[in-house]
């Protein structure tokens, strides 16, 4: 059996395992309530919480983009390590307080926090609208990544559309069966495989410092732009990206729901403490794998951002039988990483639409069980539409990430100021959010992504806070 055959067989076995986990999670459910389905009963232990946070945060974007960006743009892309670390640091700015109150008030969705803190339906609706927009964008990028990676690792034998449709179908089935419980369990398996696979592969293919020095020297002589100290404009861009993705990444709805799902303070504390290590054992390894991939792409101009890692995995896998085993593990884990992010986003998206949008309008008096059923139906409809869109991709993954984060960061003040500020009120917050969102989106849509190398999303975030404070103080005075 050839390499492609073994990969297809391994991925197939993994997909069967996922469906089995979905069935087991379905039998483990204690009720058909929203809390049980969307938060696994709010009883998640530290180990599962850590891996589900990890699998959710480390999506296809991180896995595929990191080595590709190193090959294309050089060592300045170490900034990815910084912003993935910043996300965890920004969790700490509000997670301890949010967790305590979420347990007292039995929160299910981010909208529950907005309602509780600001008690303004129009603010909750606007914030949820932004979260839905971001989540749809994120889900789409994951579906596209599914197609690309399946196509890449099978040497084109499995077409893009089959990858998208098949994996999306498996995700929607196990998620409908087991909800957050199934999602979290699959995240644990994915996390462990990715850990062993990446670290193992790194140990096997990592060159000595002499060989690294040869690559560095070659870059200095031939492509100095890829290795020299980034210039001032890039450093400003770096700082801006670090803040924007750090702030935005900390308030993804699926992350907020995982904070709610923690069993205890100790559980959350231990999980976040371990999460800070993850960029070093994931992004740094991917970065270094990118560095050692540079010589393989010397003659390739503008390598596709989505194909560097799959191509290199093929190459490394061919070096020895042991490497081949690790390569298979990483390939399956990569596909799993994409699926686990997609399932988390989808689950979160359906909970917002079912509970916060329908549950507060047309289905106001519906029971928790009925809203759970409605949420499952929403998941199927969303997935169907997104698959159709993903089959006609016209935008690269990096473009999607940039757009998503510029918008998502506007929601961060609802958590940061909501938790810490005594003066901020719903009117100020609504106006701030509206101004920040309109500024960031408007600028992005007319093609302005940065002003003076600072992201428009971050400028919008600052405007957002300034307007929120100004109008809150006017009202208070």
């Amino acid at each position: 059996m050839g390499t492609t055959g073994i990969i297809i067989l391994s991925v197939g076995a993994y997909l069967i395992l996922l469906l089995a986990l979905g069935l087991i999670a379905n039998r483990q459910r204690k009720s058909n309530t929203l809390k049980d389905f969307y938060l696994a009963g709010g009883n998640m232990g530290a180990f599962v919480l850590l891996f589900t946070l990890y699998a959710t945060q480390y999506s296809a974007n991180t896995m595929l983009v990191t080595p590709a960006e190193v090959v294309n743009k050089g060592m300045g892309m170490i900034l990815i390590l910084g912003y993935m670390t910043a996300v965890v640091v920004f969790y700490l700015t509000f997670a301890p307080q949010l967790y305590n109150i979420s347990k007292k008030q039995s929160f299910i969705t981010p909208g529950d926090w907005f309602d509780y803190r600001f008690k303004s339906p129009k603010l909750t609706l606007l914030a949820n609208g932004i979260l839905v927009l971001v989540s749809v964008n994120f889900l789409l990028s994951q579906l596209m990544a599914m197609g690309h990676i399946v196509n890449g690792v099978t040497d084109g034998q499995i077409p893009y559309w089959v990858g998208v449709v098949a994996l999306a179908f498996v995700v929607i089935v196990y998620e409908t069966l087991g909800g957050m419980r199934a999602v979290a369990w699959t995240d644990v398996i994915q996390g462990i495989m990715l850990f062993i696979g990446l670290i193992g592969l790194f140990i096997m293919v990592m060159p000595s410092t002499d060989e690294l020095a040869k690559i560095s020297t070659w870059l200095i002589e031939n492509e100095p732009k890829k290795i020299t100290v980034p210039d001032v404009s890039f450093r400003i861009y770096w700082a801006s990206l670090l803040l924007m993705i750090g702030l935005g990444g900390a308030v993804y709805p699926q992350v907020i729901q995982r904070i709610y799902a923690a069993k205890s303070v100790k559980t959350l504390r231990n999980s976040l403490g371990a999460m800070i290590i993850m960029p070093l054992v994931t992004v740094l390894i991917l970065f270094l794998l990118g560095v050692i991939s540079i010589p393989h792409f010397i003659d390739s101009e503008g390598v596709s951002k989505d194909t560097v890692l799959p191509e290199m995995l093929h190459y490394w896998g061919g070096l020895s039988a042991f490497n081949f085993g690790l390569m298979i593990m990483v390939v399956v884990a990569l596909i799993a990483a994409i699926m686990s992010t997609a399932d988390s986003v989808l689950l979160s998206l359906s909970s917002i639409i079912a509970k916060d949008i329908f549950g507060k309008s047309k289905y106001k008096s519906a029971s928790s069980e009925k809203l759970t059923k409605l949420g499952k139906l929403c998941s199927w409809i969303i997935m169907f539409i997104m698959v159709l869109v993903a089959l006609h991709p016209k935008i690269t993954l990096w473009g999607l990430i940039e757009l998503k984060m510029q918008i998502l960061v506007q929601v961060a003040p609802l958590f940061l100021l909501g938790v810490h500020s005594k003066t901020i009120n719903s009117k100020g917050m609504f106006l701030g959010l509206a101004v920040g969102f309109l500024f960031a989106t408007g600028a992005f849509l007319i093609g302005v992504k940065t002003i003076g190398n600072i992201h428009v999303g971050l400028i919008g975030f600052v405007l957002n806070i300034m307007v929120a404070y100004s109008f809150s103080q006017n009202r208070n005075s």
Partner: protein
């Protein structure tokens, strides 16, 4: 009577949803955020001259190694901070 009922209802709602519903109990001291700001600033190569920054350390340029060291320090500091200040 109706007025009393309305007043009682308002009191109940106020208790349930106090005016400032934030939960601003401080978990980490302010200086912790200052340390984070310094570590993030150190992770960006503002402070190294071109000549020093391009020295190869472990096969990689010094500015890159300095960035990685700053992130490692941030990870260590975060673990210490969580263990020290975030109580049940």
């Amino acid at each position: 009577m109706q007025e009393l009922n309305t007043t009682l209802l308002l009191c109940f709602q106020m208790n349930k949803y106090p005016k400032n519903r934030h939960t601003s109990e401080k978990v980490f001291p302010y200086w912790v955020w200052l340390v984070y700001a310094i570590l993030f600033a150190l992770s960006i190569p503002w402070y190294l001259s071109e000549a020093i920054a391009m020295h190869l350390v472990l096969g990689l340029p010094l500015w890159l190694v300095a960035n990685i060291c700053a992130i490692v320090m941030m990870a260590g500091f975060t673990i210490w901070t969580i263990r020290t200040y975030w109580k049940d």
